[in-house]
C-alpha cells in the first residue's frame, strides 16, 4: 500500500487519534515510515525547544496598561462628542436626575477627577451601587422630561501647575512622599465647570409609566415643569505616569456636584423620582440618604470588582476602594463642597498615606 505522507507522520506525533487506523497500522509495521516518524518527532522536539520561551506574565499589569491605553485613546478624541456622551450616559436614569451627586459621579464628573475617573471606569467602578444590569435597565431620563447640557467640561491637559491653578481656581496638591515606584513631576489635567438642566414633565413621565404598564404616582404640586440645574466642577488632577503612560498615581480635586432647584425643593423632587416605577427598591433606599449639598458622597461600588470600606482622612470620613485583584486602590472624600480623590496602581496603605499627608497650595 501507499506510505502515509510526511504530514500524516507529523500528525501522528501530536494527534495520533486524528490519523486513520489504516495509516497507524501501516506505520507500525513499516521500517521506512517508523524512521520518518522518528525524524518528525525529532524535528518537532527541536522546534518546540527552539521556540519555547520561559515566561511569567503579569495579567494585572497587562490589563492596567491596556486600560490606560484605552482611556488615553478616549482622551485623544474627546473634543465635544465625548463629554456630551458622558452626560447622556450619566443622565439616562431618573434616579441620576434626582441625585445630582450620583449623576456627576456616575459619568459626567470627569471634570472632577479626570484621569482618576478613567481608571475607575476601566475598572468598572461605575460609582453607583447598581449592578450593571440595573444600569442598563434604568429608563432614559428623557422619558421624564428634557435634558439640556449648558456647559461642557472640556477636559484637557494644562501647561504646568500654574496654568492648572489659573484654569480652575483650585489649590494644587502637594504630595509629601511619593509611594515607591512613583517618580518625577506630575502632569496636570483640568476640566471646566459643567452644567446641565433637567426639566421634569409630568405628561412625559405619565406616558413612560403607561408604557411600562404602571400608573404614574401623582406628582407633588408644582413639580411639573420644575427645572433642576446640576452643576459640577471645575476640577484638576495631578497625574504621575509610568513609562508606558499608565497613571501610577492621581490626586484630583473638584468642586463637588450640586443640584439647584427652581420651585419644588430638591428634596421633594428626589423623593418623588425615587418612587417612580423602574427603580430597584434597594437602590432607592440607598439614594434616600443622599443630599444635594455636595457633602454626601454616594460611592456605590461594583462589588465583584472592588471592595470598599470607610476610612478617615484627616478627620473627614472617606471611602477606600480596593481592586479585588490588588491592581489598584483609591480613596475619595467630600469636604467643604469639594471632592478629593487619590488613586493609583499602588496599595491601599500607600493611597491612604498619600491622602493623609496631602497639602494644598494656593
Amino acid at each position: 500500500m501507499r506510505h502515509p505522507s510526511d504530514g500524516t507522520l507529523r500528525r501522528l506525533v501530536d494527534e495520533p487519534a486524528g490519523v486513520p487506523d489504516v495509516d497507524r497500522a501501516h506505520v507500525a509495521a513499516c521500517p521506512g515510515c517508523l524512521s520518518g516518524l522518528a525524524a518528525a518527532q525529532r524535528d518537532a522536539t527541536l522546534t518546540g525547544a527552539a521556540l519555547d520561551v520561559e515566561l511569567s506574565t503579569d495579567v494585572a499589569a497587562g490589563w492596567h496598561r491596556l486600560a490606560g491605553t484605552l482611556a488615553a485613546d478616549g482622551r485623544r478624541h474627546p473634543a465635544t462628542a465625548r463629554p456630551a456622551r458622558r452626560w447622556r450616559t450619566a443622565l439616562r436614569s431618573p434616579v441620576i436626575a434626582a441625585v445630582a451627586a450620583v449623576a456627576v459621579l456616575a459619568g459626567a464628573s470627569a471634570a472632577a477627577a479626570a484621569n482618576w475617573l478613567e481608571i475607575f471606569r476601566t475598572e468598572r467602578v461605575a460609582p453607583v451601587t447598581f449592578s450593571q444590569a440595573d444600569l442598563v435597565e434604568l429608563p432614559d431620563l428623557s422619558a421624564y422630561g428634557t435634558v439640556e447640557v449648558t456647559h461642557r467640561p472640556q477636559l484637557r491637559e494644562a501647561n504646568g501647575p500654574a496654568a492648572a491653578r489659573q484654569a480652575t481656581g483650585l489649590p494644587l496638591p502637594q504630595v509629601g512622599k511619593l509611594p515607591r515606584g512613583v517618580t518625577g513631576a506630575p502632569t496636570y489635567r483640568v476640566g471646566d465647570r459643567m452644567e446641565a438642566v433637567f426639566t421634569f414633565s409630568a405628561e412625559q413621565a405619565a406616558r413612560t409609566a403607561a408604557a411600562a404598564g404602571e400608573p404614574l404616582p401623582p406628582p407633588p404640586a408644582g413639580l411639573d415643569g420644575s427645572r433642576f440645574r446640576l452643576v459640577a466642577g471645575p476640577g484638576l488632577a495631578a497625574v504621575w505616569s509610568e513609562a508606558r503612560g499608565v497613571p501610577a498615581l492621581i490626586v484630583a480635586r473638584a468642586v463637588a456636584p450640586t443640584a439647584y432647584s427652581s420651585g419644588t425643593p430638591f428634596q421633594t423632587a428626589r423623593d418623588y423620582l425615587l418612587s417612580l416605577p423602574g427603580l430597584p427598591a434597594d437602590v432607592a433606599a440607598q439614594l434616600r440618604h443622599f443630599s444635594a449639598d455636595g457633602a454626601t458622597l454616594p460611592l456605590p461600588v461594583a462589588a465583584d470588582q472592588l471592595s470598599s470600606r470607610p476610612v478617615d482622612v484627616g478627620g473627614v470620613p472617606a471611602t477606600l476602594l480596593t481592586a479585588r485583584d490588588g491592581s489598584m486602590a483609591g480613596v475619595v472624600w467630600a469636604h467643604d463642597g469639594q471632592l478629593t480623590a487619590v488613586a493609583g496602581s499602588i496599595s491601599a496603605d500607600e493611597v491612604l498615606s498619600v491622602a493623609r499627608e496631602l497639602r494644598w497650595t494656593r
Binding site: 524535528d43 527552539a50 495579567v59 491605553t69
Partner: protein
C-alpha cells in the same frame, strides 16, 4: 458600562476585561514564541487586545482569534524589526538564568537564528508552526489558516524541517 467610547470609533466591547484576563498569558506566549522576548511579546499582546476590544469577534471564537492575531502581529514585528535583534542580545547577555556564559551565547545565537529563520519562512508555514506549538489543535490551525486538517501536518513538517536545517547548518563548526 465598560470603558467609554470616543467619537466615531467602534465601542469597546463589554467582555474585553473578562476575555483579557482569561487569555492574556496565552496571547503573550504565542507572541513570545515568535519574538523570543517577553517585552516585545507584551507589546504585541497589547496591540492584539486593542484590536479585539473594538472587534465584533464572537466570544466563543475569541481564544483562537487572539492566538492567530498574536502570531500574525508578532511575525509582522519580526520582519519589520531590525533593531530588535540587538536589543534582544543586550537583554540576553544579562540573563542570569544561564550558569555558563558560553552556553548563554550559544543559546542566544540559536535564538536569533530561529527568529531569522521564522522570518524567512512563507507566512502560512510560520503561522502553522507557531500556532501548533502554541497548543492549537490541527483542526483549529486548519480553520485559522483556511487549510484542510490533513494538510496542516504537511505544512508544519516542512516548517520544522526548514528550521532544523537552519539550526544544524549554523551549529556545525566552520
Amino acid at each position: 458600562m465598560a470603558v467609554s467610547t470616543p467619537g466615531r470609533r467602534a465601542p469597546v466591547r463589554a467582555d474585553l476585561e473578562q476575555v483579557f484576563r482569561a487569555a492574556y498569558a496565552r496571547v503573550v506566549a504565542v507572541a513570545a514564541r515568535v519574538l523570543g522576548s517577553r517585552d516585545e511579546a507584551e507589546d504585541v499582546a497589547q496591540e492584539v487586545f486593542l484590536s479585539f476590544g473594538r472587534s465584533g469577534v464572537p466570544a466563543g471564537e475569541a481564544p483562537a482569534w487572539l492566538s492567530v492575531a498574536a502570531a500574525h502581529t508578532a511575525l509582522n514585528h519580526l520582519r519589520s524589526g531590525r533593531r530588535r535583534a540587538s536589543r534582544e542580545r543586550v537583554a540576553g547577555v544579562a540573563d542570569p538564568v544561564s550558569p555558563d556564559v558560553a552556553d548563554a551565547v550559544v543559546t542566544l545565537d540559536e535564538r536569533r537564528r530561529v527568529r531569522a529563520a521564522l522570518a524567512r519562512l512563507p507566512r502560512r508555514q510560520a503561522l502553522a508552526l507557531v500556532l501548533r506549538h502554541s497548543g492549537l489543535s490541527y483542526a483549529e490551525v486548519a480553520a485559522a489558516l483556511g487549510l484542510s486538517p490533513g494538510s496542516v501536518g504537511t505544512v508544519v513538517r516542512r516548517a520544522e524541517s526548514a528550521l532544523r536545517k537552519e539550526l544544524s547548518h549554523h551549529a556545525s563548526p566552520e
